[in-house]
């Protein structure tokens, strides 16, 4: 039979030679996702996924519907229709311990500026007293209130009563909203970060109030992402690739990283540099973090910034073909990124044991701007700074299924990965081996139920 292999052979690995994009080919032994389930319910771009509990998640998108799914079976549990326009934000409102009814609520905000749905199964209430599109939502569980950010910032309680609101902030509106200690919230408004303090209603006071405390003006461009890393710091990222780590208490800059985009030395027509010349290619779309690292989606690249060391420890400058939209860190040192190019990639953060021994075929690139140009362009994707980068991101697999930009994904420890995309689809990626085992168990359970299982003694 092997005689037919004449003329056959390993397919050239697609674009591997031509593109700086690192590819992995078809053999992905470490990629556990060998089963997929396509979920179809939306009629437009699916933009948001939110986890409800261990086995359920909700998806929302431009068609204005929210769909609740079972993450294990891919079964559609509920379809919530209430919005007439795009959903712009979705968040879950966890139930309080004191609350007798255990209903979990979903808050969704839509571009029609009129509706608020809070559902699990039914529309609880609708609020439509907004002057602007609500772009983000945040829940302050400690105070049992939630905030909506549009052109102004509103504070609501669980019963959907408006407690207080700020004056008109800007026409661009609040793009991101996080909670920091001392009853403060940080709102990203254009290039500014504004810190507000919430004053809860007490016996003496008239009611809730929200006060602007400080404006942070360090960013040079619009702030796209903002996350709360830990109790002492939060991180913001801007359109031009600035990453600033702030102190949550003093609201001061702890560290600043603004050199993801450094066009100056790369004027000599290298392909990947050309691609990087557009500011969009260094905009920080998404941030995520674990105990010590911040994972930054910069343009089409992926960077790992170490907080204690205050420097980038690993990067993939061309992790995807186009902008990375979402990044997540899995417990097992894996990082998953999804991108506009329609693919999802799985990376593993590997520590380099000995930097000196490690051959550096790809050359090094200084992330901070003093770096040399990498002239050996054959594998420019693997760039490390000689002394600074102590880890590497290894591509261990990619998931190709969506035909359009992958907007977001959710990771379930037990059920795998859920991705949503502009092609209106949601794909459930599962560990085929585990699923097979589960099905087997189910089979024998059913046999037992039917009384057909005879266990040997």
């Amino acid at each position: 039979m092997l005689r037919w292999l004449i003329g056959g052979g390993r397919e050239p690995q697609g674009l591997a030679e031509k593109s700086p994009l690192q590819t992995i080919g078809e053999e992905q032994t470490q990629n556990p996702y060998t089963e997929l389930l396509v979920l179809k319910a939306h009629h437009d771009i699916v933009r948001y996924l939110v986890q409800l509990d261990d086995s359920r998640f909700a998806s929302a998108g431009d068609d204005g519907t929210v769909v609740v799914w079972n993450a294990q079976t891919g079964e559609k549990l509920l379809e919530l229709n209430g919005h007439t326009q795009k959903i712009t934000a979705i968040i879950t409102l966890p139930c309080l311990e004191t609350c007798e009814e255990k209903n979990q609520l979903i808050l969704t905000a839509s571009a029609d500026r009129t509706e608020w749905d809070c559902d699990t199964g039914r529309q609880v209430q609708k609020v439509s007293c907004f002057q602007s599109t609500v772009k983000c939502l945040a829940v302050l569980q400690r105070l049992d209130v939630w905030l909506s950010g549009g052109n102004d910032l509103c504070v609501w309680n669980r019963k959907l009563d408006l407690l207080c609101k700020t004056s008109h902030l800007s026409d661009t509106g609040i793009t991101a909203l996080i909670e920091i200690p001392k009853n403060c919230v940080v709102a990203a408004v254009g290039k500014e970060l504004i810190i507000f303090r919430l004053v809860a209603a007490t016996e003496g006071s008239l009611g809730w109030d929200i006060l602007e405390v400080k404006r942070l003006l360090d960013h040079q461009d619009n702030i796209l992402s903002l996350i709360n890393v830990n109790d002492v710091s939060f991180v913001s990222g801007s359109h031009v690739g600035e990453l600033i780590v702030w102190d949550t208490l003093g609201w001061t800059v702890q560290a600043c990283e603004r050199n993801f985009w450094d066009p100056s030395p790369q004027l000599d027509a290298q392909r990947e540099i050309k691609l990087c010349q557009k500011p969009n290619d260094v905009s920080i779309h998404h941030l995520t973090w674990d105990e010590e690292n911040v994972f930054v989606a910069v343009g089409r690249g992926l960077y790992v910034y170490n907080l204690p060391m205050k420097r980038v420890i690993a990067c993939q400058k061309a992790a995807h073909d186009s902008s990375v939209l979402h990044v997540a860190k899995l417990p097992n040192r894996q990082v998953i990124s999804c991108s506009e190019d329609g693919s999802v990639r799985i990376w593993e953060l590997r520590e380099k044991q000995q930097l000196s021994v490690e051959p550096a075929p790809t050359g090094f690139f200084n992330m901070w701007g003093f770096g040399r140009v990498n002239k050996q362009a054959s594998h420019p994707a693997k760039k490390q700074q000689e002394n600074a980068t102590s880890c590497s991101l290894e591509l261990i697999g990619d998931l190709i299924g969506h035909s359009s930009s992958v907007e977001m994904f959710l990771y379930f420890e037990d059920h795998g990965l859920v991705t949503c995309s502009a092609d209106h689809l949601i794909i459930l990626w599962k560990n085929g081996e585990r699923e097979s085992g589960l099905r087997s168990l189910k089979l024998f359970q059913k046999l037992e139920e039917n009384g057909d299982l005879y266990l040997s003694v």
């Binding site: 039979m1 085992g437 087997s440």
Partner: protein, 938 residues
């Protein structure tokens, strides 16, 4: 479909199928003598050459009180079928058996005429002069105008093949009983209607007579009666009596044994009108309501007539036709049923038997059959299953033996042991010592057992029988003693007495007339069979025996296997035998135990094991598939005798030498529509009317044939057929890319035989697609024909194809390339050997089916052995289970390399199917592997 594909290799390729290969010339010693009747358009296997008709047909005859036995109609109603066969003569033959002691009239001690509800009788008759053998089903219909109110009819299934009739007796009897029941139901209805009319007439006549008498009385007041008046009074009295008689008859016909009605409810379409009576009773039958208004509404046209005192001479009147006797509706239903019967038993006996085995085995595989079997058949079987569970208590086959249960053993016997079931014993009547004696003696000597003993035995039984003829041969009795001794050794079934004994007893109840009629076998009416026998009736005597015999039968198959191969074969079967004995892994017991409830509850473990171990035999034989026919043809006369032992001497003509095995090709070729019919009509007990037949029947058979042929071509033409087929079997979508739609469609159809189905949805095959592929397509379809167009649209289509290349194998028809993962297993080369000697599409299709059935069996074992998948104890690491699985697949099932993936994939489908059986809604997830692909070129 499980069947032996090997047996049909040596048929003539004279049909529309083109012949891709020239058959290599056979060595002289292997060649078959030319069939002497070939010029008549017959084939060597039809065994019809001696007969005057070209194929089996059904004849309905009547013993008319006016003209004697006469044929009424034949099915098919085509003079070509029976040719110059003398229907009148044969009618005489079959009707002259005085089949039932039906007495209607005034029984002694009874005041009124009494209707007897006689059971139908079922007899097998043979007429050696005509070369015709017939299953004859006698029935009686009621006719008010007929002598004794009865009209004897019979329906006969006439075939030139005695063995076919004998073997299919049970089935024939069941089917004809349905037809008969239908006729009789209609007849009862019509008879009741007739009686009512008659009663009205009588009533009217009485009124008229009464008035006349009154008038006479008034007119004549002299105090004495004129003779005219006395006559009138007598007339009136006789009318009164007649009314009472007819009322009694009406009561009788209405009180037709309820048991029978229930019995007939097994066929819905008949039961429908039967269960109708509530509504119809209102109009026709209910005495209280007969005077109701809706009666007149319904039959406004009928006006009572005056009945003359003297009835007309019976020869003056015209007897009712059969259609008049039974309601037209019922009559057409009966005809439909008979046509169905004719269809069902069309073709050679071997074909019928093979397809019965097929069905029986398929029933045992209902868990895996969805993978590769035709959906039509599956649904048919499902329907049948439901039906049989519903109708079980009333089924013609005795209740203890539902069709599923009985078919297997019976079928196994009929293949393996002609000897035991078709032994012909010629019984001599005492007075007959003519020249036929010598012939019969010869036949008896040729049979394997002591004729004398048998003769004595049967003679004893025949003592009481009245025989009016000179030489009646009662054929078709099995040797009771041998059967008994065999059954003694068999523990699973207890047969207190051979059914044949019962048969011969039944014979003794019959009066046989006619001079050269051979009563081959009779089926006593049900009442004659003691209940104990019903379970084992007729030939499901013992399976153990059938297996032993099966081995003998398998001589046909294995004769050509060289010793090492034979060893291998043993290895193969012992491999599975190992399953049963290996205590440490305890698969055998579990598998067996699992199988029992899954397939047919009530079977013993040994049955199950036996069945499981059958496919591997074939598996090992497959390479020798072509020696099979050589060996048969090569057989010396003695061995031929051996193998054909069960046949009467005249059957052992060299021209008929391919007795059993090759029959199936006949049916496959010459009765292709019949075979398709057979395959679509999954059950002999199903009651579908022919009109409800799936219309796709014939085309699906042709489809199979074509698909097989094209698949065969593909295998020969493309050296990379193996990896392509592997892709299909392992659930990796194969995209057939081409410009020409017809070519792509053809190949897709051909390859679809390798695609495992998901279940109810049918095979996941898309024959032609011109839009770009999407990820959902791979989840939905496993074989896609994709259009290659020279337009920008195709660029996107090709882009999508390369993007999703990890999920697909791509077969480019235009460039003759294949891009797919490597395949190194051994399974596909056996399945698709490019050097195969199989030349016919249908043969190859069967070959594939049997191979795949075997594969399914492996997947089944793998799926349902719980110790492979469940941890042995709580704390066991999952790796241990994984290693158990691997070793099971590799060592026990003998799978190597990629074959493992195939079985794993099938197992996955099985799990899904089993667990989702009720819902059956969602499509399975798309499973894939991250494996490199290779590019194959011619």
């Amino acid at each position: 479909m499980i069947s032996a594909p090997d047996v049909v290799a040596f048929t003539k390729e004279d049909e529309y199928e083109e012949e891709p290969y020239n058959e290599p010339a056979l060595p002289e010693e292997y060649s078959v003598p030319l069939f002497p009747f070939a010029s008549q358009g017959a084939n060597p296997w039809s065994k019809l050459s001696g007969a005057k008709f070209s194929r089996d047909f059904i004849l309905i005859s009547e013993f008319s009180e006016q003209v004697g036995p006469q044929p009424l109609l034949t099915i098919p109603n085509d003079t070509k079928v029976f040719g110059n066969f003398d229907l009148n003569y044969f009618s005489l033959r079959i009707m002259s058996v005085d089949y039932q002691a039906s007495f209607v009239g005034h029984p002694p001690g009874s005041a009124y005429p009494k209707l007897n509800f006689v059971e139908d009788s079922k007899v097998v008759l043979g007429d050696s002069k005509e070369g015709a053998f017939a299953y004859v089903h006698h029935l009686t219909l009621y006719d008010l105008e007929a002598r004794g109110f009865v009209r004897p009819f019979c329906m006969a299934y006439i075939s030139a093949d005695q063995h076919k009739i004998m073997q299919q007796f049970q089935e024939l009897s069941a089917e004809f009983s349905k037809a008969s029941e239908c006729l009789k139901t209609g007849n009862r209805k019509a008879f009741a209607g007739e009686l009512e009319k008659k009663l009205k007439d009588l009533d009217y006549t009485r009124t008229v007579l009464h008035t006349e008498t009154e008038i006479q009385k008034k007119a004549n007041d002299k105090g004495f009666y004129s003779s005219q008046a006395i006559e009138k009074a007598n007339e009136l009295a006789s009318v009164e009596k007649s009314i009472i008689e007819h009322q009694d008859l009406l009561r009788q016909i209405r009180s037709y044994p309820h048991r029978k009605l229930r019995g007939s409810s097994l066929c819905p379409r008949e039961s429908e009108p039967i269960q109708d009576p509530p509504s119809q009773a209102a109009t026709t039958s209910d005495p209280e309501e007969s005077a109701d208004t809706d009666h007149y509404a319904c039959r406004p046209s009928y006006t009572p007539k005056l009945i003359k005192a003297k009835s007309t001479k019976c020869f003056d009147k015209k007897l009712k036709t059969l259609e008049e006797l039974c309601d037209t509706e019922y009559f057409t239903q009966t005809l439909a049923q008979l046509r169905h019967v004719e269809h069902m038993f069309r073709g050679d006996l071997c074909y019928l038997l093979t397809s019965q085995i097929d069905r029986a085995l398929l029933k045992q595989q209902h868990i895996t059959s969805f993978l590769f079997e035709d959906l039509v058949e599956v649904s048919d079987r499902l329907a049948e299953k439901q039906e049989s569970t519903v109708s079980k208590p009333h089924h013609y086959v005795p209740p203890s033996e539902s069709p599923e249960d009985c078919l297997v053993p019976q079928v196994l016997i009929s293949v393996g042991s002609y000897k035991s079931s078709v032994e012909s014993v010629l019984i001599k009547m005492e007075q007959d010592l003519g020249d036929e004696a010598s012939r019969e003696a010869a036949v008896m000597e040729s049979s394997s057992f002591d004729p004398q003993e048998n003769l004595d035995y049967l003679e004893m039984d025949m003592k009481g029988s009245v025989s009016s003829g000179e030489s009646i041969e009662v054929l078709g009795t099995e040797k009771p003693t041998s059967v008994l001794s065999k059954s003694e050794s068999q523990s699973s079934l207890t047969v207190p007495l051979s059914p044949q004994v019962v048969r011969s007893k039944a014979v003794s109840h019959r009066t046989i007339s006619g001079d050269s009629i051979e009563v081959l076998s009779t089926c006593p009416s049900e009442a004659l069979i003691p209940d104990d026998f019903k379970a084992s009736y007729p030939s499901a005597i013992n399976e153990e025996e059938s297996y032993a015999e099966g081995g003998q039968g398998a001589i046909h198959f294995q004769a050509g296997i060289s010793p090492p191969e034979a060893g291998e074969a043993e290895e193969g079967s012992s491999g599975l035998a190992l399953l049963q004995t290996d205590a440490s892994c305890c698969i055998g017991r579990e598998a067996g135990a699992l199988l029992v409830p899954l397939s047919t509850p009530g079977h013993t473990l040994s049955d199950e094991d036996g069945v499981v171990s059958v496919p591997p035999q074939r598996y090992w034989q497959k390479d020798q598939g072509f020696h099979v026919d050589f060996s048969v043809e090569n057989a010396s006369p003695s061995s031929r005798d051996n193998s054909c032992e069960g046949f009467p001497a005249y059957e052992l003509d060299p021209s008929h030498l391919l007795t059993s095995l090759d029959g199936s090709k006949t049916s496959l070729d010459d009765h292709s529509d019949a075979t398709s019919y057979g395959s679509s009509v999954a059950s002999t007990s199903s009651d579908r009317t022919p009109s409800s037949m799936p219309p796709a029947g014939p085309s699906s058979e042709r489809h199979k044939k074509r698909a097989g042929q094209n698949a065969l071509k593909f295998i020969r033409q493309y050296p990379f057929a193996h990896p392509a087929i592997y892709s299909l079997l392992s659930g990796r979508t194969l995209v057939v890319l081409g410009e020409e739609e017809a070519m792509v469609r053809k190949l897709v159809t051909a390859l679809s035989i390798f695609v495992p189905g998901y279940g109810r949805h049918g095979k996941p095959v898309k024959h032609w697609l011109s839009s770009p592929l999407h990820i959902t397509d791979f989840q939905k379809w496993k074989l896609i024909g994709l259009q290659r167009v020279a337009s920008p649209a195709s660029a996107s289509a090709l882009h999508a194809l390369s993007r999703y290349s990890r999920y697909t194998s791509i077969l480019d028809l235009d460039r003759k390339t294949l891009r797919c993962p490597l395949y190194r297993g051994t399974l596909v080369p056996r399945l698709a050997d490019h050097r195969t000697h199989i030349r016919r599409g249908s043969t190859y299709f069967l070959h594939v089916q049997s191979m795949l059935a075997q594969l399914c069996a492996k997947a089944f074992l793998y799926t349902f052995c719980h110790h492979l998948h469940l941890p042995a104890h709580g704390g066991e690491a999952p790796e241990l289970a994984a290693s158990r699985q691997a070793s099971f697949l590799q060592l026990t099932l003998g799978l190597v390399h990629e074959d493992v993936k195939v079985v794993r994939y099938l197992a996955e489908l099985l799990r899904l199917h089993y667990t989702q059986e009720r819902r059956g809604t969602s499509q399975p997830a798309l499973r894939f592997d991250y494996v490199p692909s290779f590019l194959y070129k011619i």
